[in-house]
């Protein structure tokens, strides 16, 4: 919870009398239990909208559940065993991971670079800081539709530009790798500024004196960045990586709207850019209406996200090995 920032001492307690006023007893109960009450809304909401659907989905995944049917026979883990042998599912997993990698890595690097720029003394700094967030507040659907048109085979602007420089038209929608790139562009466009602001906030918490002493020691801008900024940002980087992992592996709107026409949920004729969430939707809803199978996909996706997030965190801990100076934890509080 928040820290009491007001430097004034609290109002003096009322002078005690021999008899305990009823408010005192109440006050004690209050101190003991009201923190729970404070956090209760979150857990209530999480229980209703998070935990319950999660458990219900698992329950559904153990059944042969035709969305329209009235009988849902129990089949145990059959949906899962079928799914593990389902080539289309693994194809979707590869797509998702592919899009995730080629969108997240450049995105976070660009965000870091952008944050570093914004952290300097610039004119109209606030304006720039606000500007990087603008892509994030535009509607995903609008972005996806615009990009879908830009990357059109025949009437798209990207191919038109490529044509100007003498490159043949690229089949953005029916070439697997090209479609990954196109979708990654959308994701990057939207999320780079968001991550940059998070990095920027963390950068501002780094005490200036560290940079000053580094500068006295003769460290250049680049050296300062890699030896001070990046190591001290590690917790923040881990946070953004986890958030990006969750978001990236659940990617749905961009690839779904990138494809138009009949049955866009396949992500192209040969499922070139069908992500796991799209595969889940295809099975749970149109055209299969197999709710049990779709739920099994959802749970495997959950497992996949947990695994990928764990791997990312482990990798990040190993990499960028420099430990932040011990004094840091304290000096952080003093900053700003």
């Amino acid at each position: 919870m928040t820290v009491q920032l007001d430097p004034r001492p609290p109002v003096a307690p009322a002078p005690r009398t021999g008899r305990r006023p009823p408010t005192m007893r109440f006050s004690r109960l209050d101190t003991k239990y009201s923190p729970y009450l404070f956090i209760a809304p979150f857990f209530v909401l999480f229980g209703v909208f998070g935990a319950y659907p999660l458990i219900y989905t698992f329950w559904v995944s153990l059944h042969d559940w035709d969305l329209l049917g009235s009988n849902h026979p129990f089949v145990g883990l059959e949906n899962y065993s079928r799914l593990l042998e389902d080539a289309d599912f693994w194809h979707a997993v590869v797509n998702t991971l592919g899009i995730f990698v080629i969108s997240t890595v450049p995105q976070l690097l660009a965000a870091l670079w952008l944050a570093n720029l914004l952290n300097r003394q610039l004119r109209a700094r606030t304006t720039f800081r606000m500007a990087v967030l603008i892509p994030n507040i535009t509607s995903t659907a609008a972005v996806a539709i615009v990009f879908g048109v830009l990357f059109g085979r025949e009437f798209g602007m990207v191919n038109w530009l490529l044509d100007l420089v003498g490159i043949d038209a690229i089949e953005w929608k029916s070439n697997r790798f090209a479609s990954w790139v196109a979708i990654s562009t959308m994701v990057d466009w939207r999320w780079t500024g968001y991550n940059a602001l998070i990095f920027l906030a963390a950068m501002q918490a780094i005490p200036r004196d560290l940079y000053e002493s580094a500068a006295i020691d003769g460290a250049g801008r680049a050296r300062q960045f890699w030896s001070i900024t990046v190591p001290l940002l590690k917790p923040t980087i881990i946070f953004t990586v986890i958030i990006s992992t969750i978001g990236g592996l659940q990617l749905f709107t961009e690839p779904r709207l990138f494809h138009s026409g009949t049955n866009p949920i396949r992500g192209g004729t040969l499922r070139e850019s069908q992500t796991v969430t799209m595969y889940m939707f295809e099975n749970a809803f149109a055209p299969h209406y197999n709710f049990g199978y779709g739920s099994a996909v959802a749970w495997l996706l959950f497992a996949l996200i947990a695994v990928v997030a764990a791997i990312n965190v482990l990798l990040l801990r190993r990499l960028g090995g420099t430990k932040p100076p011990k004094a840091d934890a304290k000096s952080k509080e003093g900053a700003r």
Binding site: P10, H259, G261, H288
Partner: protein, 433 residues
């Protein structure tokens, strides 16, 4: 902290109350305003009911009609409807069900009111026999009243035909292609003139037309036989349609604009193809996509081969409707001969009622957008005699796989043989899901 316990408690109470209110907020019905009841009608694409609603509301002052989903793609509409039905909540009082999905909804008839319990039986004479049967479940319940049928024709652009030195008069054009093989020959002539446009929009649309036609004229089923067995690989009608489509692709006649995609819509606007297989309801789609600029540039000729049916819908009343009696009444009105004529005039869906089809309003109907083509005659002629195609339990999923395989060949991702193997294997897989 801990200084103003009372105020803080008030805050806690407020937060808790807000949370409770937020979770429980959406329960209960909104009270009827001035005694009116609201009937919601769920449709997709273009049903052309706007004028009919006005008329109905004028004669039923206690009813207010709200339509949802006009212009919605069927692919977006059907999952929504299924979710509403599965959840037992959310569906309109009257819902449209498309041909390809009717089988799946019929398999679970409890979701819908049995109209035979509400005077439905006496309506039988108002519908073409096969359309009436289409709304009937195996155990004899009537869950849907027919709206339109998809009589077939071939729409073409006169300006592009003129550019390629082909005849533009609709009678002359119809004579060019009594069969699909001749259609291909015309296409090759067209292609040789380099007009900058393709001969047809997309191979999937042509394939779907041919397969429904060949199947209708042969066994009366395509992907599933009438006992519900998947026969994609053994039904000669499917293979024949496949081969003809491969010939069309092989001759390089398709513009490869994936049907219903944004590129397809752009291609309409930019006059990038000369012909498109058009069931009656497609005329509304063409007009919407090509826009007013192209008015009078389109015309309608006979479809190669012998007629056929593609598409058409039913109206049903979900059991979850809170105003069943009124909803049934409205569905009956919209599907009456009068209602079907009104819809035809507005957006072109061809009536499924023999009375409507015989009505001068339809017989003499001309479509100004399509150079005053006598749409009533062109589509109506075939509708009375056409043979419907039986659709099996997972029709939509199977159809998706087969059409998708056609598209992979069209885009050059697969050779025709590989495409066929994919079509058969993926169809089997989809049917088993």
């Amino acid at each position: 902290m801990g200084v103003f316990p009372r105020r803080r408690l008030a805050a806690v109470a407020l937060v808790a109350a807000t949370a409770l209110f937020a979770t429980a907020g959406c329960a209960g019905d909104e009270p009827a305003e001035d005694g009116k009841i609201t009937l919601t009608v769920d449709v997709f694409s273009q049903f052309g009911y706007e004028e009919l609603y006005k008329e109905y509301m004028a004669s039923h002052p206690n009813v207010k009609i709200v339509e949802r989903g006009t212009g919605t793609n069927l692919d977006d509409y059907s999952p929504k409807l299924t979710q509403w039905l599965a959840a037992g909540k959310g569906a309109g009082d009257v819902v449209a069900i498309e041909e390809g999905l009717m089988v799946e909804y019929k398999a679970n008839p409890d979701n819908f009111v049995n109209l035979l319990d509400h005077g439905g039986a006496e309506l039988q004479g108002n519908f073409l026999e096969w359309k009436w049967k289409g709304g009937m479940t195996q155990d004899g319940k009537l869950i849907g009243l027919g709206t339109d049928v998809g009589g077939m024709a071939m729409c073409y652009r006169k300006d592009l035909f003129a550019k390629a030195g082909l005849p533009t008069d609709r009678e002359a054009v119809s004579k060019l292609w009594p069969t699909w093989q001749e259609y291909i020959k015309v296409g090759e002539q067209f292609k040789a003139k380099n007009t900058g446009a393709a001969f047809l929009d997309a191979a999937t649309n042509i394939f779907n037309t041919i397969v429904l036609q060949t199947a209708g004229n042969a066994q009366g089923y395509h992907y599933y036989d009438t006992s519900g067995n998947l026969v994609v690989d053994s039904n000669p009608a499917v293979r024949q349609a496949w081969d003809t489509t491969m010939d069309i692709i092989d001759s390089g006649l398709s513009g490869k604009y994936g049907s219903w995609s944004e590129e397809w819509v752009s291609a309409f606007k930019q006059a990038k193809f000369a012909t498109i297989a058009c069931p009656a309801w497609m005329t509304g789609v063409i007009e919407g996509n090509a826009g007013v600029e192209a008015k009078g540039k389109w015309d309608i000729a006979r479809v190669p081969g012998d007629g056929g049916n593609w598409g058409g819908s039913w109206l049903a009343v979900p059991t979850q409707s809170k105003h069943r009696a009124e909803a049934i009444e409205l569905a009956k009105f919209l599907t009456s001969a009068k209602g079907q004529i009104g819809a035809f005039k507005a957006k072109g869906p061809l009536p499924s009622s023999p009375q409507a089809l015989a009505d001068p309003a339809i017989v003499d109907a001309k479509n100004a957008y399509f150079s005053d083509a006598p749409v009533g005659q062109i589509f109506g002629e075939g509708a009375k005699t056409l043979k419907p195609v039986y659709m099996g339990p997972k029709n939509q999923a199977v159809r998706t796989e087969v059409e998708n395989a056609v598209r992979t060949v069209e885009l050059g991702q697969r050779k025709p043989d590989q495409g066929w193997t994919d079509a058969v294997n993926n169809a089997k897989k989809a049917a088993a899901k």
